[in-house]
Subunit: 232 residues, 2 copies
């Protein structure tokens, strides 16, 4: 096939995806890591990854890898960066496209988790990781910090119903700093992207706190009106 002349002169390379999986539990941002089940570095902590198949889009490969580990589909998943140093993987020349995912830990499939020897670690104290995976985690954290200020991605880490205190704790975990309760509430409520439900959460307080949910329609109206989602 003449059409492929120029292409077939070049060498093909392995292409993989690796997933940085974020969760939120006990007021801490956490990472889901697995133990590598094959060499090189068998038994070491690693991001969950897999090779991209010939008939599979990059995004689909990332979804597949994520579903294999968590059992979850319809998860927030965003491409982070492509890592391609020749010596990044001692097992061979592998280009890895990193994705980060935000999941609600309550919805997790525990079986899959066990199967892949996976475990949650707080983002500020996770074990050493193989290859350039620490670099990936670092970049993912920075991306999440930036993104959470200008797009409503944080809600992906909470269950559908949440209290304002839980939401604040989440932002505090992502940005690793305390926020002022009154200012936080004023700001998030002023954007009018939440709907208050007719229910209270009595688990965390005797008095009970109103439950809210993120309202996609309100968010769309906000954007249509020329405003933006902004947290400070």
């Amino acid at each position: 096939m003449a059409i492929l002349d120029k292409y077939t002169n070049s060498k093909k390379l392995y292409v993989a995806v690796d997933c940085i999986i974020f969760g939120f539990e006990d007021d801490k941002l956490r990472l889901l890591l697995t133990k590598r089940m094959f060499d090189p570095c068998k038994g070491c902590w690693s991001l969950m990854g897999g090779f991209v198949q010939e008939d599979e889009n990059l995004d689909d490969a990332a979804s597949r890898v994520l579903e294999r580990l968590t059992g979850l589909t319809d998860v927030y998943l965003e491409q982070l960066y492509a890592y391609g140093d020749t010596d990044r993987d001692p097992g061979g020349r592998v280009i890895s496209v990193a994705y980060y995912a935000l999941i609600c830990t309550q919805k997790l499939d525990k079986d899959a988790e066990d199967k892949y020897l996976a475990k949650w670690f707080p983002v500020d104290t996770y074990p050493s990781l193989v290859f350039d995976h620490p670099e990936m985690v670092d970049k993912a954290m920075k991306r999440l910090r930036r993104k959470s200020l200008i797009q409503p991605v944080g809600f992906e880490l909470l269950s559908e119903k949440f209290t304002l205190t839980q939401l604040q704790k989440l932002y505090e975990a992502i940005h690793q700093r305390k926020l002022d309760k009154r200012n936080f509430r004023k700001q998030i409520l002023s954007m009018d992207v939440l709907t208050r439900l007719e229910e209270k959460d009595k688990v965390n307080s005797k008095r009970g706190a109103w439950l809210y949910r993120f309202d996609k329609e309100k968010y769309d109206s906000l954007l249509e009106s020329g405003e933006h989602f902004v947290m400070k």
Copy 2:
């Protein structure tokens, strides 16, 4: 080699880089495009690209492709995004990692430009491009807009010495809106990252305008003092 068992079960793929090359001339932001010299889509306008070699880092591949077309090294070059839909290139399964470059058009190697049938186009009126290249250009524009507000990348598009008016015109071109002269000057000068030279540019005005240069050392001090580069 047992170490590669898991890897050799997977198929390798072609990996390419494509470069979105920005320049600034006649108060307009411009794109350097080439005519494809081989099938598929021979003769169509395209971003400059090339395959990643087996012994070559991703970033190095992008630099090589950029140098081949422009003759320039030491250019601002940043990875943009990895494109990997199975049907993105009718010539075969190719993962493309897009990079964008900011170059000073005055330093351009005209010969290389001719050799690859390359041509500059204003970013608001460029011809149709092959594959998913329009999507790449769009993403690069957005990245440049965002980045230029929080990091001093714009200077990469100007020659070393420039007037404040030229700098303002550049920001206006990137953001496609008029800026207030007094506010613009106040803001850029208040950060103290420019050094005023003892020379004036008399090309664009009779009176002459002071020439400035971006001062890396001043910029580093700004960061050390906990401040940030911010343009609004």
